[in-house]
Symmetry: D2
Subunit: 337 residues, 4 copies
Amino acid sequence: MIITLIEEATEAHLKKITDTLLEYGWKATHVQTQSARYLVGIAGKEIDIRSIGVLPGVLDVHRVTDVFKLVSATWKVKPTVINLGDGVSIGGGGHTLMAGPCSIESEEQVATTVDFLVSQGIRVMRGGVFKPRSSPYSFRGLGLEGLKMFARVARDKKIKIVTEVLDASQIAAMYDYVDMYQVGARNSQNFTLLDELGKVDKPVLLKRGISGTLEELLQSAEYIFSNGNEKILLCERGIRTFEKSYRNTLDLNAVPYLREKTHLPVVVDPSHGIGVRRFVPAMTLAGIMAGADASLLEIHQSPEHAVSDGAQTLSFSEAAQVARQVAALVALRESIG
Amino acid sequence: MIITLIEEATEAHLKKITDTLLEYGWKATHVQTQSARYLVGIAGKEIDIRSIGVLPGVLDVHRVTDVFKLVSATWKVKPTVINLGDGVSIGGGGHTLMAGPCSIESEEQVATTVDFLVSQGIRVMRGGVFKPRSSPYSFRGLGLEGLKMFARVARDKKIKIVTEVLDASQIAAMYDYVDMYQVGARNSQNFTLLDELGKVDKPVLLKRGISGTLEELLQSAEYIFSNGNEKILLCERGIRTFEKSYRNTLDLNAVPYLREKTHLPVVVDPSHGIGVRRFVPAMTLAGIMAGADASLLEIHQSPEHAVSDGAQTLSFSEAAQVARQVAALVALRESIG
Amino acid sequence: MIITLIEEATEAHLKKITDTLLEYGWKATHVQTQSARYLVGIAGKEIDIRSIGVLPGVLDVHRVTDVFKLVSATWKVKPTVINLGDGVSIGGGGHTLMAGPCSIESEEQVATTVDFLVSQGIRVMRGGVFKPRSSPYSFRGLGLEGLKMFARVARDKKIKIVTEVLDASQIAAMYDYVDMYQVGARNSQNFTLLDELGKVDKPVLLKRGISGTLEELLQSAEYIFSNGNEKILLCERGIRTFEKSYRNTLDLNAVPYLREKTHLPVVVDPSHGIGVRRFVPAMTLAGIMAGADASLLEIHQSPEHAVSDGAQTLSFSEAAQVARQVAALVALRESIG
Amino acid sequence: MIITLIEEATEAHLKKITDTLLEYGWKATHVQTQSARYLVGIAGKEIDIRSIGVLPGVLDVHRVTDVFKLVSATWKVKPTVINLGDGVSIGGGGHTLMAGPCSIESEEQVATTVDFLVSQGIRVMRGGVFKPRSSPYSFRGLGLEGLKMFARVARDKKIKIVTEVLDASQIAAMYDYVDMYQVGARNSQNFTLLDELGKVDKPVLLKRGISGTLEELLQSAEYIFSNGNEKILLCERGIRTFEKSYRNTLDLNAVPYLREKTHLPVVVDPSHGIGVRRFVPAMTLAGIMAGADASLLEIHQSPEHAVSDGAQTLSFSEAAQVARQVAALVALRESIG
């Protein structure tokens, strides 16, 4: 059950509502986000929600039977739009392309990529500076200094930045240089990280776990939301399966499912989702017809020389062709929808 | 290695080629299909294939390093087109819709479905009469009599029939009433069935195993081809994963991969692939952008009353809308390809 | 619901019982096995089973809520013992070792293996003559002639034979030469094969599907049982997982689970279950402590020269050591049980 | 390649070795653990390791082709023994039982459990105070205060404490109250946490990821080791599979595999590994025969009232019986090994 409180709700109001819920066996959690206040009720007996709706301090009440609550579309039917500023937004119609290299490598690389993005009208750039690697001996990214450089160059052209955060301890230092925090597949259930990202006022792009279920993904989003941050995007990036012909198996079934179950925007990462460069364009287009709000593409001025993930990275000319196809397809999607 | 023989190749020619291969450690299998004769060479030493190419009886020679051979696009670059007669074909461009109920239930049902298909310009009808069921106590289909009725009604309107064969012993009895045999996911490695379907001159729609890899699928197709039948279609129908929000996980990555690796047409079954009726249209469209040559849809005049698979079955009006969207999308796909 | 009928139950009795069930919405299937007659009731309303128990013709009635029925331990608590003759049996206490090569290769090989088994007191020999292979170009076994030779040599020393049947069409021809039919993992849901094995009076060793669930395994066993053959053994042989360090993942959890859910004996195949020769002994012993009634081992006089599966095959001296360890462990298991 | 340095190795020595390696394309990482100094060489050309062995500063050199290095048994053949003090150790022979509740709930609960452990001669107690939960609304443990209470009661009886750490920020505060840090399945690739645990001088029990491979597990251990901490235990706790009859699938294949590949001790967690109380004893015993160095059991004075994981938790009397069986089995294992 989700109870939205009026702005002026007092402690006395809260106590009365909480006590009433408790009578029926409901445990209430008070949630104060950056835009509203809620009480989330868990696991009680059947109850006529109107008896709660009439209490002072209550704006409205919804029954939510999903295990996730505040991220559920049962409660908030209207799609959430993530506004990144400067006219860049994700969700609520249309399709947003986000592109960039796997790893930030050099200022020259960032500048070249930014120029390419500008030429294509792409406004969001991805690029890792903290890289999760299976082996401790692999390249782990340029770190915070790399991020500062990335921000300096990109913001000069009003390009928005999305980059991965690996640990709660990095959030504050990264804050001034990111427009969107990315949580990677391996951290999809790093609850400390999720808790802390809930206390920040910047959007969070949350990737599905490597073998994670969608219910787990939505509950991880609930961690962020219930800590205060309503700006969340969910990203399908491929799951682990037995198929060894490609890196991961992009689960596009997740797209229509998530679009029904949650009000949060749904992003597809076809680069990790198939992991084979020449198949990425087809899977980007497939993701759009599945209903994706945005795509996250790995691109590089010279994929053969990328320090990581070159095998799944598009060249600029390939990316430009995808961008043209995406534009045509999104127009069609809207006309036949 | 694949050696295509000239039509007039003699036993003496064959012996000479086989002996030459043997010298280099290659084991040769003679394959006589309905359209040509081949020698398939397996597992020998590096060899200059021109030394085979010059032997009498040889039309051409190709090196094929895949574990599958005759179904490989390394050897036969040109896409295979499956011709079902009466101007109905699959593969080689465009997109073919195939639709029908999970189970054939009654003459009235078949007639109504046929009429709907005719109204939509859909020329291939699916419908099961032999149903594989996990439990022996479930409905197992109308059997051969049902198939005869299905054929009588459908052929009257020039609708082609695809239906599942469960066992090699059924092939002959079904022959006069089917236009395409379907091999289901549970039989994807029923090698006796595959061997015997290789001896028939009608197309075979081969579904991927429930947790089967694409290499296994292609090798199963190789069974059919190497027994003589070149008319094979490969079908992605969803794999088993941990995700319980839908019946299976439609692996659309398989589509661009298969289109690169094999000359055989690629079919997508979004009905089984997601198993949730209201998500089937999105996944059909996604499959088309992934590159599918055909889609296989479950439809029913009254999905709520279908004897099996109702939860994933489209109504006629839903199917008609999908057909319209498909037409628009296929046109776009060809224009931006 | 399972209704055991008295031997003398008449058609009139059956009709009365069936009609009574139908009133409550139960569909009854008449099952005549080689040892008894049953009515299996499916999917009706709550009913006091005593009202069925009092009908003429009824010996007893059990409520079975599992989706599988006649193989359920809810109904038949006493473990089934599979008697292979000559004092060889499986189930109901103790542990039976079965061993032999992956493929039958030659008379000399069979004779040598038989002599080894006799020296160890092992009474059941495995050995494939029909081999399921992913590729049509691989060795597919010596076939029926190989089986006849196998039987001639083994029976001379009273060694019982278990070998794989690939297709229903092979059952009759194999009948005189096998003591137990094996159904492989790829055929675990080959329902025609299961139906036909239900009509034979020899035991069937049914392997779990490559990614099959235990509920599916038990329902496949139900196919055999409901066609008349009560002599079934269930075999855990490893499932497909993401782990690539070994061939399959032996799921020993299945052993205590199956022993609780069914009255049928449970066999473990550690050779396929891990697929690495030097780890097979540890997994055999682990399987025994998990509760297995029997183990199925791949052994060969010279594993390095085996035509198939050499990598997971024990030498005779390794097998002899395992046999000694098994004997000590089974004694302990009984003393601490 | 692993180069063990002599204690007195100087910067000049290091430079010379590193430069020599670099000539052959090897990247060297300097590792200073709490007991020794190493250079780990990665990814260079074939090289005669004797040419490195003769350099000043080098104690010895080993070629290690595994992707993991310092945790490999290729390099260090002798099993690592984890010494917890007061005569409690894990690894190097025998079998150590560790037991306790899923969650620490109260002082009374801890005291009762400690008394039970003492009565059984069990010296290590598990108990969670920071609980990872899929939902933010679930009970998340008693936290640091709970840990302090746990330590006060347990240490009074010389019982060693193992408890889960969720985030690097908790390590320091927990330090005085734990004898072994546990890293849970969801954090198996939380590289920041692994890095930081590498800087502590207390043992780390590292659980395999929910769908993690063993190679990933060993590389995660390499993170800890290469940061300085050699005291690591690896724990198989069940993987996610399609089987829904139990919570996870305990992969006992991992035990002989890990015992061959690494010198670190191998722990089995049968409670999470099957998740069904009445099957836990069989799987504990199976784990021992697979070769486990230790078992981690969930026990509770009243499993029906446990705040978490009651369904997989043994009562004290069940645990006492398991302990007796374990003692008998370990004795046998040593006699037949």
